[in-house]
Every structure is written in structure tokens, then in C-alpha cells.
């Protein structure tokens, strides 16, 4: 009971100023959601910086040093396709979600809902 109390009060304190542990757990929790976010967002083709802006804009926080290598990796895995757009002065690589990427997005989304339901049950105490 004392331990529980400690945990609760500790998390409240750290909620105000985020410590390293919290930051690393948050990063861990969000890592997979960036992939899902990319796959969903890139149903309309877009380039790295625009994607970075829009993901952060809707609340999926990710920094450039994570996103750019991630796009490359997803492309290598066949989940994204890419095309160079040279219409403007600066050539830009436009990524879009492939059919395989679409399938993965569906699987991930389903899983995301399962986890959400599970956590909801835990929160409400309704553990069926």
C-alpha cells in the first residue's frame, strides 16, 4: 500500500517536470505509433519535412533524426514507395504508402484498438 502511494505521488510530481525515466518510457511507448502515423498519413504522397510538420502538428511527436531514417527503413521493407519530384528548385523525395504498408497499417490499427480497450478495462477496473 505504501509502495502504491509512493508510485502515485511520484508520478504526479514528475508529471510537472518530466524526468529522464519518464521521457524514455514515453519515447518507448510512442515509437510504434510513429510508424503507424507515417503509414496512415502517407496515403497521400508527401516529402520528409512536410510529414514531420504535419505529424507533430496533429500531436504525434517525432524528431527529424528519428523520422528520416525511419522513412528509409520503411521503404526498404517495402511498406513505402518513393519518387523524386524535381519540379521545384530543390528536388524532394515523395513517399507514399504501398499496398503492403496499407495492410500493416490495418493490422497495427486493430492492435492499437485492442490495447486501448485493455487499458480502458484496467482503468475502469472492469477486468473481464
Amino acid at each position: 500500500m505504501r509502495l502504491l502511494h509512493y508510485c502515485v505521488s511520484h508520478s504526479i510530481v514528475s508529471g510537472m517536470s518530466m524526468d529522464d525515466t519518464t521521457a524514455s518510457h514515453l519515447q518507448e511507448l510512442r515509437r510504434g505509433t510513429v510508424v503507424l502515423g507515417c503509414l496512415m498519413r502517407l496515403r497521400t504522397p508527401d516529402y520528409g519535412y512536410a510529414l514531420l510538420e504535419s505529424l507533430n502538428g496533429i500531436g504525434i511527436t517525432v524528431d527529424a533524426n528519428t523520422l528520416y531514417p525511419l522513412l528509409r527503413r520503411l521503404e526498404k521493407q517495402g511498406l513505402l514507395t518513393s519518387e523524386w519530384n524535381t519540379d521545384e528548385a530543390r528536388p524532394r523525395k515523395f513517399y507514399s504508402t504501398s499496398a503492403t504498408g496499407e495492410q500493416l497499417a490495418a493490422v497495427l490499427t486493430a492492435d492499437w484498438h485492442l490495447i486501448d480497450q485493455a487499458l480502458t478495462r484496467l482503468t475502469t477496473g472492469d477486468e473481464r
Binding site: 519535412y49 527529424a64 533524426n65 531514417p69 527503413r73 523524386w84
Partner: protein, 321 residues
């Protein structure tokens, strides 16, 4: 005007394979350009913006490694345990053998004990460094070879170490040691009378003159070893004292035997006269055999004692051997 960007892109792409270089070059320029533009739009001076954007990108080699999935470690977690086990096993086996062999070769080659030990230690250090280097090099190459996703060896529960025994020195150890020591003593006495040769004559194998001192001395050392193993059994565990006494006893036996053998005093000269024209060859072979067996056994046994004492002091005695 984009000199810093040019230098950055060059630094990041120079180690990249030709095929991927152009692509990575373009991607980096796009990324840097967009980042600089965003900073300029928010009111920074272009030069400051470029500097800040590149600083944010970080070490170009690290960036390239991230883009290309290159490992930033020499040996990663996949192979680390295989590497560690192999290095340990090789060092434990090869270094003592190489060191012992050099000491031994130097001794029979006519060197002093000091020279032999210095050469032996130098060889030991050089073998250690070489082994560690080459094994690590091979593993570093394997780490960078694509295609494998799992470790080299699969762990099974059979590899689990035994739990510590309450007694490090078993009764079987005691009996085996005493049997060997008694056989040794009996053999020294017996060789005087009972080794038959064609023609019904018997010759002592060892020089009978050695009975004046050396043979009784060797028997005394063997008797002391019987006392030693008995005390060790009673103590249940090795410790540093036992390890030290064990080394002294081994030296007390091995050094005189090696000296006698290599100076030609060990064997009975009449024995070789019976052999005929090949006497010198037989003498050399026999001498080398005795000397090397004595040295190897003495070093092995001494090292064994030290290792067991070490295990006992850290409380991990009885580990799987």
C-alpha cells in the same frame, strides 16, 4: 554559399557505396535545405540557420550509419556472448600451453631459468593480444555481414552451470590422486628389478647411481604429495595456501627430473648400449618425452590448483568443469 552543407554532405556520404551515394546526397540536401528554410522563415539569419541545422543533424558518420542501418558498435548483442565465450576458452587453453612450451623449449635449449620465464611471459602476452585481436576481427566482420538475424549458437538449458557443491575436493579426487602417486613410487622402485629385455637380462631403466640421492628424494616428494592431497581432502576446499604448496611440490618434482633428463643423468647408460646403433635417437626421444610430459603435467596441475583456489575464494567452487 552552401560550403558548410557541401562539407557535411561529403563527410556523410564519402564512406557510402557508389550506388547509394547519389541518392543519400540528394536526400541529405533536401533535409538540410528544408530545415534551413524553416529556420529562416522563423526569423534566423541564413548563415546561423545553416549552422544550427547542421548542429542538429549531429555527427555525419552517425547520421550515415542511421540511414544505412550500419552498426555503430564493434560487436553487438547478437554475437557478444559467443565472442566472449570463445575468447575465454581460447585464452584459457592456448595461452598456458604456449607459455609452457616456450619455457620448456628454452630450458632444454640450454637457457637459464630466468631467460626461460621472460621468454615464456613475453610469448604469453603476445599470444593473448593476438588471440583477442583476431577473434574480435572475425566477429566484427561477421557483425557487418548481412543475412544473419540470430546468434551463432543456440543456448540450451544443458549449458547451465552446476550448483556449488558443499565439498570442492571429492573422495574420488582423493583416491585417484593417491593411486597415481603410489603407482609413481612403486614404478621408481620397480624399474630397478623388473623390466625385462631380450635375452632374459633385466636392466634398471634409471641410472642406479641416482639411488645415492635423487631417487629417494623424488620418492619423498611423492610421499609429501600424498600428505598434501589428504590434507586438501580434509580441508574440503582449495585456498591460496594449498595452491602455493601445490606449485612448490610440482616444482620440487619436475625441476630435478627435467634437469636430470636433459643433462643425460636420468637413464641408465647400459640400457642404451643394449639398443644398438640407434641408441642416440632412442635416448633423445625418451629424454624429450619425459621432459615434456613432466613439464606439461606440472604446469597443468599448478594452474588447476590456482584456478580452483580462485573459484573457492569467490564462492563459486564446483562450477561445471
Amino acid at each position: 554559399m552552401n560550403t558548410l552543407t557541401d562539407r557535411y554532405v561529403h563527410a556523410a556520404t564519402r564512406t557510402v557505396h557508389e550506388r547509394q551515394r547519389t541518392e543519400l546526397d540528394r536526400e541529405l540536401r533536401e533535409r538540410i535545405g528544408d530545415a534551413v528554410d524553416a529556420r529562416v522563415e522563423s526569423g534566423e539569419m541564413p548563415a546561423d540557420a545553416e549552422l544550427a541545422a547542421l548542429t542538429e543533424l549531429g555527427d555525419p558518420e552517425r547520421l550515415a550509419a542511421g540511414y544505412l542501418d550500419r552498426p555503430l558498435h564493434l560487436i553487438g548483442p547478437r554475437y557478444y556472448l559467443d565472442w566472449l565465450r570463445l575468447v575465454k576458452v581460447l585464452l584459457a587453453i592456448v595461452v598456458p600451453i604456449a607459455t609452457g612450451a616456450v619455457i620448456f623449449a628454452r630450458l632444454i635449449g640450454g637457457g637459464t631459468a630466468g631467460e626461460a620465464i621472460v621468454d615464456g611471459l613475453a610469448t604469453g602476452i603476445s599470444v593473448t593480444v593476438n588471440l583477442a585481436f583476431w577473434v574480435t576481427l572475425v566477429f566484427a566482420i561477421v557483425e557487418r555481414t548481412p543475412g544473419r538475424t540470430s546468434a551463432l549458437s543456440r543456448w540450451t538449458p544443458a549449458q547451465l552451470p552446476e550448483l556449488p557443491k558443499s565439498r570442492q575436493v571429492s573422495r574420488a579426487d582423493l583416491i585417484l590422486s593417491i593411486v597415481f602417486l603410489v603407482i609413481g613410487i612403486v614404478a621408481i622402485v620397480w624399474q630397478q628389478f623388473t623390466v625385462p629385455y631380450p635375452g632374459g637380462v633385466t636392466f634398471p631403466v634409471l641410472d642406479p647411481e641416482l639411488w645415492s640421492f635423487w631417487l629417494p628424494y623424488l620418492i619423498a616428494v611423492l610421499l609429501a604429495e600424498i600428505v598434501f592431497v589428504s590434507l586438501l581432502y580434509r580441508n574440503r576446499h582449495w585456498n591460496w595456501w594449498f595452491a602455493a604448496v601445490n606449485i612448490v611440490l610440482n616444482a620440487a618434482f619436475a625441476i630435478p627430473v627435467v634437469w636430470l633428463a636433459s643433462t643425460g643423468q636420468l637413464f641408465n647408460p647400459e640400457l642404451f648400449e643394449q639398443v644398438g646403433p640407434d641408441a642416440d635417437v632412442v635416448r633423445t626421444v625418451l629424454t624429450n618425452l619425459v621432459v615434456s610430459a613432466t613439464v606439461v603435467i606440472a604446469i597443468w596441475d599448478s594452474v588447476d590448483g590456482v584456478i580452483k583456489a580462485w573459484r573457492a575464494t569467490r564462492g563459486g567452487f564446483g562450477e561445471a568443469e
